[in-house]
Symmetry: C2
Subunit: 342 residues, 2 copies
């Protein structure tokens, strides 16, 4: 049948052959025709052959809907995104979309920012039975949601982070934090500030890197802010308000780091002469602003997650696994050895 698909498409897109036509020609019910074409197990071999012959004769192209009605696959994957407009999630989506398309799967996007949206998604999903798999983009999943996903029998893959017990593709956030901190320590900085977004693996890297260098982590040098530029600007202002400000700052990510740099500029301080700043991501604007950072392959995380989904749906994914992609230090113009004491 595959060979003729193309010609049918060109010939009659407006009035396609339906499953109804196939069922009539094969002399079976619509449900049986659907099950026979959908590889449903409870169909007699002879019936299956008759339906296939009818489909062949009519150049019928199975629709995902028909297969779904018989309990077959929908060809659709739900992707849960907290913030589609942020670069990190946009990159994950680009990579995912490419891999899903290569596997002939459609990407259905759901924004799940706050708790209400999450609840709405998990409420609606089972009633609709409309996807074969769910990809969670760097969002935590609570116990009730675990149970809901398990009851659905859909495959779940996590991209851009790690959520047990699902297969995931992410980076080693603690390792990325160590790359940033070790760079600042190697430059000779001893008084290093942290602008964190969460009490996460990157924040813990700040502590362990300092401890490993024989430096006591001082609580006043670590500040937690809301994600993004405005948060970074505010965090930097707090650090500048200390009796002895740091000589270098490790920011959770590039956008937060760029906010910190705005505060420094407004305070009349030079980067890196007066204060060094490093982020994580290698956001496109990091190159534009000469920001030193730890690069992570975001699009690649999306792509690999899409490949895991396709493998899971083919039954080729052997067991839950957590893939970790490498990060690397990108030296630009916002870090240098500490300058003369101010």
């Amino acid at each position: 049948m595959t060979g003729d698909t193309q010609s049918w498409r060109r010939a009659a897109p407006a009035s396609p052959v339906t499953l109804d036509d196939v069922a009539r020609r094969a002399g079976v019910s619509l449900a049986t025709a659907s099950r026979a074409l959908g590889e449903h197990p409870h169909v007699a071999a002879a019936t299956r052959a008759r339906v296939r012959e009818a489909a062949e004769a009519l150049d019928y192209v199975a629709s995902p809907e028909a297969a779904r009605l018989a309990g077959g696959p929908t060809g659709r994957v739900a992707v849960l995104v907290p913030h589609p407009s942020r670069w990190f999630f946009g990159e994950l989506i680009e990579g995912l979309e490419a891999a899903l398309r290569a596997a002939d799967l459609d990407l259905v996007l759901f924004r799940v920012g706050g708790p209400e949206e999450r609840a709405a998604f998990f409420d609606r999903l089972p009633a609709r039975r409309k996807v074969d798999a769910v990809v969670v983009l760097a969002v935590a999943v609570d116990d009730a949601e675990h149970a809901r996903l398990a009851s659905l029998g859909v495959d779940v893959v996590v991209a851009g982070g790690r959520v047990a017990p699902y297969p995931s593709v992410g980076i080693d956030d603690h390792g990325a934090g160590r790359q940033a901190m070790d760079h600042l320590l190697h430059l000779g900085h001893r008084r290093i500030g942290l602008i964190a977004v969460d009490d996460d693996a990157r924040a813990s890297a700040w502590r362990t890197a300092l401890a490993d260098a024989g430096i006591e982590p001082e609580d006043e040098l670590a500040t937690t802010v809301a994600w993004g530029g405005e948060g970074g600007a505010e965090g930097m202002a707090r650090l500048l308000g200390l009796r002895t400000p740091p000589t270098a700052v490790f920011a959770h990510d590039d956008e937060t780091a760029l906010g910190a740099i705005r505060t420094l500029r407004r305070a009349g301080l030079r980067v890196p002469e007066d204060l060094s700043v490093i982020g994580v991501d290698d956001h496109p604007l990091a190159a534009l602003t000469d920001l030193t950072t730890v690069a992570q392959p975001v699009r690649e995380q999306g792509r690999r997650a899409g490949e895991l989904v396709a493998a899971a749906l083919r039954g080729d994914l052997q067991e839950p696994l957590a893939e970790v992609l490498p990060t690397r230090l990108v030296l630009r113009g916002t870090t240098s050895p500490p300058g003369a004491p101010r």
Copy 2:
């Protein structure tokens, strides 16, 4: 039936009532049951009542697949995005997703960057008959694609631009360009450069604004680059290579403008003392980098486009219309009157 949906969902997500069960109980074929519940016109009133009664008794929740099989709506909208990872498109998607969700419609994302991806999308769509509408995000549609969309009978809405003859939501790009140019002219600049991405409405605003101010637009002051920071950096380098460089530059968008500013910084020039720069968008990083710009409401364009889709699917959209949302000048730190001659 609506009142009991919730309890059914909680009770039996793993083994839901199927349309098959409803059809059996009503004593009709699967296809008839599907048509009866899908508001298909060719169903006798008595049959429709019997099927509804059966659905009611079984607490059956109609799936979009069942409705689709009967020629009813799928509840899905395809969104064609050239670059999901760019801020502009991410914002459009955020707005669209919110409006579509409010209308109980799912967003199926298709990346259509290059000609091959476009062709693949338009080839696959008709064979699948899998969406009720298509939203095109700032992508041109050629004649063959127009014909393909028309043959499908799906509704088409354009967001973030204008593509005749479809309903669209966008901004007045010429007007936005005039706001940027008039600001530079009001500051006293006479020699104003343009970093364009296309020969588009923003580029034509550069010409008309200069002409209206009695200034002959000089071709050497207009340069066209690839979109984004690297393009902007390259365009600015070209303008600095002129015998007499401009005293101000209008860049197509904020990311292009930030690239131009990197070149100026590397050349040891101060912004705005030596050269003023203005963009378009009000990208979040424009606030962080003190970039003067013309703001456009991007998420709102997506939201309105989603509302137009919902209205079209309800049959409430009277005629093709082109909604134009307002833009506004945002004064920050990268523009000032021209300095002393260098």
